[in-house]
Amino acid sequence: MAASDVKLLGARPSPFVNRVQVALNLKSIDYEFIPQNLAEKSELLLKSNPVHKKVPVLIHGDQPISESLVIVHYVDEVWSGPPSLLPADPYDRATARFWAAYIDEKWSPLVRNLINATDEQSKAAAAEKVFEGLKLLEDAFVNSSKGKGFFGGEKLGFLDVVLGCYLGWVRAGEIITGLKILDETKTAALVGWAERFTSNKAVDGVIPEPEELVSFMKMQARAAAAADASSK
């Protein structure tokens, strides 16, 4: 598949974009990464995702696909050869999708709350909620991996990609809060999994270093404060 047939509109710091990158890497698909300036959205982005105007957008041939989980499913179905990203069994697929939805809708907002917490009390309360969620994910990992290294078993799969691409932000959160979020005394299995995920070839170079994400966050906060000040 020629690189020009597959384009990814994205932004490096986005874990949702990173998911698509890892999925394409796992399938050994060549693609053109077209970085987007989210403060000044391109014609191409607005045309390709008119409903949400967000990244990632995968453009395959001339067909755009939006929403990271929809795109990962699409990649798995179009390039259906090994490795499969989703499990073969429908019940295992349902379990993976359930946890993907939990991670996106429930757990990641908790991490955001923790990173944005302004005082020690709310930080501690937010941390407690994050750890509660991680305990659920630890159990999910143990059940899903069946003794192997990844949620997907022997190899990286859908749920590894979904959770794994948040690891940059989790590490950035640890720097910002001074707390250990992935803690081997609390969720040892996930700590081991995180190391295996980040050192996997398909992930290499995709997720920005935590320091880069911390700078990015600070830059965004400054931009938001400036916009706030200028609108007053």
């Binding site: 409903v51 795109i71 499913h73 699409y74 429908p90 359930f98 659920l136």
Partner: protein, 234 residues
């Protein structure tokens, strides 16, 4: 032997989605109505993370979250598919199902719980969402084409319950004038045989959303009985 059970609640559109899919596939199932103020031990056991309905139990294995359940049903029982076969069309269907679920339903729901001060703003948001949907429907009979598919199923609230509640509360969000294509879709949708069998009784819906209701603060027990997001929570 297949054993299929559905733990549900009569008014929940998320449960209706699952039932419509089961009916489309002709799957025999046992329906268990939950009392959301007194949830059964089975529900708490089968959905410990959220403790919510719907939960589908297939041969003793529980699946929670309506969108996850719909995909499971389509992958397990291959007759009368609710998702297209082509990967791009399938991706489109999933995109629009997410849009209905995450953008349309909350916006419409907010209009129902609006105080009179909030109503115009909430209505404006709902109208915007419905407009996007109307454009997407275009000239198609259903979002799924000639027959109903996942997007139509997930939009069941728009098709039936919302119009009933809207009429009871004298709201003017989803009107035939504003959205002629969507209105026609709704008429066709509620007359589909699998859908007809699943709709909550109209008089019961109206009784639970009396006209005197709009703009009043919710009684918390009523709110939890409905197990649907409160005004601020959408």
């Amino acid at each position: 032997m297949e054993e299929v059970k559905l733990f549900g609640y009569w008014v929940s559109p998320f449960c209706r989605s699952v039932e419509i899919a089961l009916k489309i596939k002709g799957i025999q199932y046992e329906y268990i109505e939950e009392d959301l103020t007194n949830k059964s031990p089975q529900l708490l056991q089968y959905n410990p993370v959220y403790k919510k309905i719907p939960v589908l139990l297939h041969n003793g294995k529980p699946i929670a979250e309506s969108m996850v359940i719909l995909e499971y049903i389509d992958e397990t029982w291959k007759n009368n598919p609710i998702l297209p076969k082509d990967p791009f069309e399938k991706a489109r269907a999933r995109f629009w199902a997410n849009f209905v679920d995450q953008k349309c339903f909350p916006a419409l729901w907010k209009t129902i719980w609006s105080t009179s001060e909030q109503y115009e703003q909430n209505k404006a948001e709902a109208l915007e969402r419905l407009k996007v949907l109307e454009n997407e429907l275009g000239g198609k009979r259903f979002f799924g084409g000639d027959s109903i598919g996942m997007v139509d199923i997930v939009a069941n609230f728009i098709g039936f319950s919302f119009r009933t509640i809207q009429e009871a509360l004298k709201l003017d969000v989803f009107t035939e004038d504003n959205f002629p294509k969507l209105w026609e879709w709704a008429e066709n949708f509620v007359n589909c045989s699998p859908v007809k069998k699943c709709l909550p009784p109209q008089d019961k819906l109206i009784a639970n959303f009396p006209p005197a209701y709009m703009g009043k603060t919710l009684v918390s027990s009523f709110q939890s009985r409905l197990q649907l997001p409160p005004p601020g929570g959408c």
